[in-house]
């Protein structure tokens, strides 16, 4: 038996999902590299080792699959993503097409629409007193502005959430719940593919920008379809959950919300801080291409490494007072979107979406309070809220 630090912590258990942060603290105290015996995987959970693994793509590959399953050893559930689940040099071409489709230049033209939609949706609930904020706001808003931006028709958009559950549910070990879910919604992947065709996407949207790269010969028509699909898979649930968790954080920290209410321009920084403190994407996987050494630990080839970016954000070696949620923190290099060549390609889109939302919210809402039990999603996938009962007090007109 090789020399290694082991732990019985199970990152897919309900206990872990309910409170990952105490588990992270335990893992950080155990050592830099820990072997999780329940799943036969390695994990890292400090800022420096997470950064190292995520940026060293010659050693830690994405081609082995984005989740716990090892594509070097078993067949993937769908054709692997041509941007997420490949390494350079293939990765560079597709990545660049998406980066450009989501660049500051494109986003500047979208901002106005985000602002208007956010302001309207907050105005619709501001005088209602008590709301269920997930369905009324934090799910409804991304589900409106995201597909609008891509150029997707109105009909059937709830399929995006179902598809997101399929995609992110595949991240963990197969459980009966997931198999049933896949069976119940077996028509949804085909629906998504149909919606990703060129003639289904509205003019002027991000979908057509991606197809524009096919017209320029940078990618094939088929690759354009797959990139639109990737964007639809990765862009909805992630922002729904991150915006929801940020609102929850603000609701539980009235003194922080008061800062935002008094200065809504803090919205972007508030979301950045929330992404460090508690966000939808808690962990990522890489697969080793060769034997390597990390922080004194030898790791063999073809091994899965789980990277707890949610823990990196709480690492006291990198962030001062990391468990404190402070929206005026001067925050640099938080890793909630990952980092390196596979860092979230839509991160600028997500920031803009959230900035516009929280700015509109802070402009209209004086204060809020959580009025009942919140629900955290316990099935596999992202971290996110299922319910958030909130009492809203509007600002005086």
């Amino acid at each position: 038996m090789p020399n290694r630090i082991t732990s019985q912590i199970d990152p897919f258990s309900p206990e872990f999902r309910a409170d990952p942060y105490s588990a992270y603290a335990e893992l950080r105290s155990l050592g830099k590299v820990v072997y999780l015996e329940k799943h036969d995987i390695w994990c890292v959970h400090h800022y420096d080792t997470c950064q190292k693994v995520l940026t060293d793509y010659d050693t830690y590959s994405n081609a082995g699959g984005g989740g716990i399953r090892n594509y070097f050893k078993e067949k993937p559930w769908r054709k692997p993503s041509i941007i997420l689940e490949v390494d350079p040099p293939e990765h560079t071409r597709t990545r660049t097409v998406l980066s450009r489709a989501l660049s500051p230049k494109v986003l500047r033209q979208i901002r106005e629409r985000f602002d208007a939609d956010a302001a309207r949706m907050v105005a619709e609930v501001r005088d209602r007193g008590e709301i269920e904020a997930v369905s009324a706001l934090t799910r409804a808003y991304p589900l409106k502005v995201f597909p609008d931006s891509v150029g997707l028709a109105e009909e059937g958009r709830e399929n995006l959430l179902i598809y997101g559950t399929m995609v992110f549910g595949a991240f963990g070990p197969v459980v009966p719940w997931y198999e049933e879910y896949m069976e119940t919604h077996k028509d949804v992947p085909d629906w998504i593919v149909r919606r990703c065709q060129r003639d289904m996407l509205a003019e002027g949207g991000i979908g057509q920008i991606i197809y524009g790269a096919a017209d320029e010969g940078k990618i094939t028509e088929e690759e354009a379809m797959m990139l639109v699909r990737t964007f639809l898979s990765a862009g909805v649930d992630t922002t729904v959950d991150s915006i929801g968790l940020c609102l929850w954080a603000l609701a539980r920290h009235p003194e922080q919300y008061a800062k935002l209410r008094d200065d809504p321009t803090l919205a972007r920084n508030a979301f950045e801080e929330a992404t460090r403190w508690d966000s939808s994407s808690q962990s990522l996987f890489r697969t080793t291409l060769k034997e390597t050494e990390l922080a004194g630990q030898t790791i063999g080839a073809n091994e899965k490494v789980m990277i707890f970016i949610g823990s990196a954000g709480r690492d006291p070696e990198h962030f001062e007072d990391p468990d404190t949620f402070d929206i005026s923190r001067k925050i640099k290099g938080q890793m909630g979107y990952g980092v390196g060549i596979h860092g979230c390609v839509g991160q600028m889109f997500a920031r803009l979406e959230a900035e516009c939302f929280f700015q509109a919210f802070a402009q209209q809402i004086d204060s809020m309070a959580v009025t009942g039990p919140t629900g955290l999603r316990m099935h596999p996938g992202l971290r996110g809220l299922t319910t958030l009962p909130l009492a809203l007090t509007p600002k005086a007109a």
Binding site: R100, S103, P104, V106, E272, K332, M335, V339, L352
Partner: protein, 107 residues
């Protein structure tokens, strides 16, 4: 330590000593230089560390890379011949005295 001068859009000058091996973006962000965001942390993904190099000659700057080139076409402020993403400018001794101007917007 070699230094780099940042000139903000409003003319404010900041001179920073930058450790060899550190990117100009990181140095600016760590010292709170307004006008450089670097939101993606140097992944050539956000194009919010865009700078105009005022005196490129003789510093041995690396060539514009393939991804950097694509992203420079998509910055918030206009691309000029002297445009670079400062996350790709890794400090060397030879770069002492480099001057970069910051655009009026990064996103």
């Amino acid at each position: 330590m070699p230094n780099v001068t940042f000139i903000a859009d409003d003319g404010t000058e900041t001179v920073l000593d930058v450790a060899v091996g550190t990117s100009i973006m990181e140095a600016a962000v760590m010292s709170n230089v307004d006008g450089i965001m670097g939101e993606c942390g140097g992944s050539i993904n956000c194009a919010t560390c865009h700078v105009y190099v005022q005196n490129a000659g003789g510093f041995g700057l690396p060539d514009v890379g393939e991804v950097e080139n694509e992203m420079l076409d998509a910055t918030a402020a206009e691309r000029r011949p002297e445009s670079r993403l400062s996350c790709q400018l890794i400090m060397t001794e030879a770069m002492a005295g480099l001057i970069v101007r910051l655009p009026d917007a990064q996103y």
